[in-house]
């Protein structure tokens, strides 16, 4: 052990779409930790590498930016990390600026800013193979002389140039001196000067490509065609949804079976009693009810990551911007909202692609209004029990029509709510929509799968940490205290959940809910579809999830049509999912916003159910 070789801290900085994350993955491989920066919801990715000399390098992948003059939380992290004033972070010894070799103009201006910071620097000219293929000539010697920083050419996806880059980082960490930081936020005049200087360097060092990329233009003329592009986008969405719902089905059945099997196994091993109940009814079935969505989430992310790497996501945002903008949302909000149809958790997490804080908050607040797949079991149960399976208007199935109406209600209310949020909280301020449309690239299968694996890990990690304590809490509420010896009603009626249900009953009476329903809502907070099992429990039907036919006929005998419709209306809006609320708290890093969401969603649910119930009663559905 040579103690003289102290760990070098390296920060990766670059424009968005420069292949910075690919380079980070090539450098650190699987040795990376994903967390959040202290106090902000920006993803912190760090990886350790061991250089040939034996020195350890700790590499930080900073959010992409065009400028150190930050305007979003992500960019603030980049600025503060580079300047060494980020709370809880050690300033970097070396800054590695990652540049797309085929798109140098903007990054040259960023490099001029970075140089003012005075830290030792290395320029990684990434995607150098594409530059060579295009016949783009970069005079590396001249560029090095102009910028005064060592330059390494890399191809991150092929892991080329990585060793040279590590060696250059080490040399800089050792040799280069820290200069005085002379950076300050540039004004418009300084930006113009810097842009002119970047232009001059471009002219001196870079000869335009002999075979420029014409493919991107040709693909864009199809994918961004005003009508054709829209049709293609819809087709892609259709395939995506087909995949999410049909490919995932066997996997989900498998997971459900596995959870059931595990529960049965544990029940055999552990004797009847409290511990068995905690593990089987509490932890295994509670965590299982969220785990079951993993296949859908993975398939969704597979599409999103592959389309993002291809360069399509920016185009989807372009196509949808006008429609989203009508509701006061950013074009980029489209993907998070779309993901929310599978599950609001990945939707809320995907809102990170939106760089403006306001747009991100609005998107997160309305994402749970999208009809997630956990609502489907509730909807199908109630529809099967109360809506006759008949044809209306000669072609439409009434049950299908009601289902469609529930989906439409979710979408319309999300648009209305986001418009209101903008009016109430942001007072009509409009964030500018401006973004680079990156050149198309064939997605690298290995890196897609790697990123998918990272996403899965993050989902399980977050969901696990949030869900586990909550399901235990819900189990305690539904289990204690025990029913008396001569109990005539289901156990849950005597528990805390039962007491809370009865206490809340007067509040829910005006919207047509009976006490059994109110009790079912409490364990139903774990996940929406748990309400089906909980209703089974309160109506004393064992294994209700597999015996929905029996449950449906019981419900249709016990509830009025008005009550059933009111229950459906409740489920459009009510935030009956603690996992989502937990993720919202994490992603917004604010109890205030989490509470705003809880209050407005329960409020809307109550109002909608109240209106639905009374209209239905007035029309004779009572």
């Amino acid at each position: 052990m040579d103690m003289a070789l102290k760990t070098a801290r390296v920060a990766l900085v670059g424009n968005p779409n420069s292949g910075k994350t690919a380079l980070f993955n090539a450098l650190t491989g699987a040795h990376q930790k994903v967390a959040n920066y202290a106090g902000v919801t920006v993803e912190r990715k760090e990886g350790l590498i061991r250089a040939a000399s034996g020195r350890t390098l700790s590499v930080l992948d900073l959010p992409g930016t065009y400028s150190l003059r930050a305007r979003s939380p992500d960019e603030e992290v980049t600025r503060d990390a580079v300047l060494g004033r980020l709370a809880g972070e050690t300033p970097p010894d070396v800054v590695v600026c990652v540049a797309d070799a085929t798109n140098l103009r903007l990054v040259l201006r960023l490099i001029l800013e970075l140089k003012a910071v005075g830290r030792p620097m290395v320029l990684a000219l990434n995607m150098y193979d594409i530059a060579q293929r295009q016949g783009l000539r970069i005079d590396l010697e001249q560029l090095r002389a102009e910028l005064g920083v060592p330059i390494i050419t890399t191809v991150a996806t092929r892991k080329r140039g990585i060793d040279d880059l590590v060696a250059a980082i080490e040399t800089q960490a050792e040799a280069a001196a820290q200069n005085e930081n002379s950076w300050r936020s540039p004004d418009a005049a300084e930006l113009r000067t810097a842009a002119r200087e970047a232009e001059r360097i471009m002219k001196v060092c870079v000869r335009p490509p002999e075979r420029p990329d014409t493919l991107t233009g040709r693909i864009d003329s199809v994918l961004l065609h005003p009508v054709g592009g829209m049709i293609i986008l819809m087709a892609i969405l259709f395939v995506m949804f087909q995949a999410v719902f049909s490919w995932a089905a066997p996997l989900m059945d498998g997971i459900e079976g596995g959870i059931g099997w595990l529960g049965g196994l544990v029940a055999e091993v552990i004797p009847d009693g409290l511990l068995q109940s905690l593990i089987v009814d509490g932890i295994i079935s509670g965590v299982g009810s969220v785990l079951v969505f993993l296949p859908q989430i993975l398939i969704l992310f597979l599409f999103i990551i592959a389309l993002e790497d291809f360069g399509y996501m920016a185009r989807a945002a372009f196509l949808m911007d006008k429609i989203m903008g009508g509701a006061g949302l950013h074009g980029r909000a489209f993907i998070p909202l779309l993901s929310s149809f599978a599950c609001a958790i990945p939707g809320v997490m995907a809102a990170r692609v939106i760089d403006s804080k306001r747009d991100r908050m609005t998107t997160i607040l309305v994402a749970p209004l999208m009809t997630c797949s956990a609502r489907i079991p509730v909807y199908t149960l109630i529809i099967a029990a109360f809506i006759p399976n008949e044809t209306v208007w000669g072609f439409a199935n009434l049950q299908g029509l009601v289902m469609f109406g529930l989906y439409a209600a979710g979408i319309v209310s999300a648009l209305v709510v986001s418009l209101l949020i903008r009016k109430v909280f942001w007072r009509g301020a409009v964030e500018p929509f401006m973004m680079e449309l990156p050149a198309y690239k064939t997605p690298d299968m290995r890196s897609v799968l790697f990123n998918l694996w990272l996403r899965a890990k993050i989902f399980l990690n977050r969901a696990g940490r949030i869900i586990l304590p909550l399901v235990i809490l819900l189990w305690v509420l539904a289990t204690f205290p025990y029913p008396p010896e001569n109990a005539t009603m289901p156990d849950i009626d005597y528990s805390f959940a039962g007491m809370i249900g009865r206490a809340l009953e007067p509040i829910f009476a005006p919207i047509g809910f009976n006490w059994q329903m109110v009790i079912a809502l409490i364990p139903g907070m774990a996940a929406r579809e748990v309400a089906v099992a909980a209703l089974g429990t309160t109506y004393a039907i064992a294994d209700a999830e597999n015996a929905t036919g029996l449950l449906a006929s019981t419900l249709s005998a016990q509830w009025s049509l008005a009550t059933a419709l009111s229950f459906l209306a409740w489920y459009i809006f009510a935030p009956q999912c603690v996992a989502t609320l937990g993720v919202v708290k994490r992603e917004t890093n604010s109890w205030k916003w989490t509470w705003i969401m809880i209050v407005y969603m329960f409020g809307l649910a109550y109002l909608a159910s109240f209106a639905t119930y009374h209209v239905a009663v007035a029309l004779g559905g009572g």
């Binding site: 003059r69 004004d187 372009f318 409009v430 973004m435």
Partner: protein, 128 residues
């Protein structure tokens, strides 16, 4: 075939013909220096008024009046994204509804903007 006619020096005596030929030359070279044709024939518009296929050069970024914080911020953001005076612009795509947003080539990079933001950029169209 008609391009071949341009190259025939015999026909280049009359001044108007010469002018047209030189314009054609500039159009033929994408990404070349700003049009060398007579200034009288160019048109100065806001980028938000541009249509698909329009080409030109940015002559002003940001409005003259800098009262509002947002306007100052918008100008800086545009500059950072490569919208600087002298950059070449070619409008490539328009959205379906209200021809908004717009996608364009700024020098050698593709960028999308809403027309609302594009209103703070002034461009000089190439002579067509």
């Amino acid at each position: 075939m008609s391009d071949a006619a341009i190259g025939q020096p015999v026909l280049l005596d009359a001044a108007p013909t010469h002018l047209i030929i030189s314009v054609k030359e500039t159009r033929g070279r994408r990404g070349a220096a700003p049009a060398r044709a007579s200034r009288d024939l160019t048109d100065t518009i806001k980028l938000s008024q541009a249509r698909r296929g329009d080409r030109g050069v940015i002559i002003q970024v940001g409005a003259h009046c800098h009262h509002q914080v947002e306007a100052v911020e918008l100008e800086r953001r545009l500059l950072e994204l490569g919208f600087v005076e002298g950059a070449r612009i070619e409008l490539l795509h328009e959205g379906l509804f209200g021809r908004d947003p717009i996608a364009m080539k700024v020098d050698d990079m593709r960028v999308a903007l809403r027309r609302h933001e594009a209103a703070s950029l002034t461009i000089k169209l190439d002579v067509v």
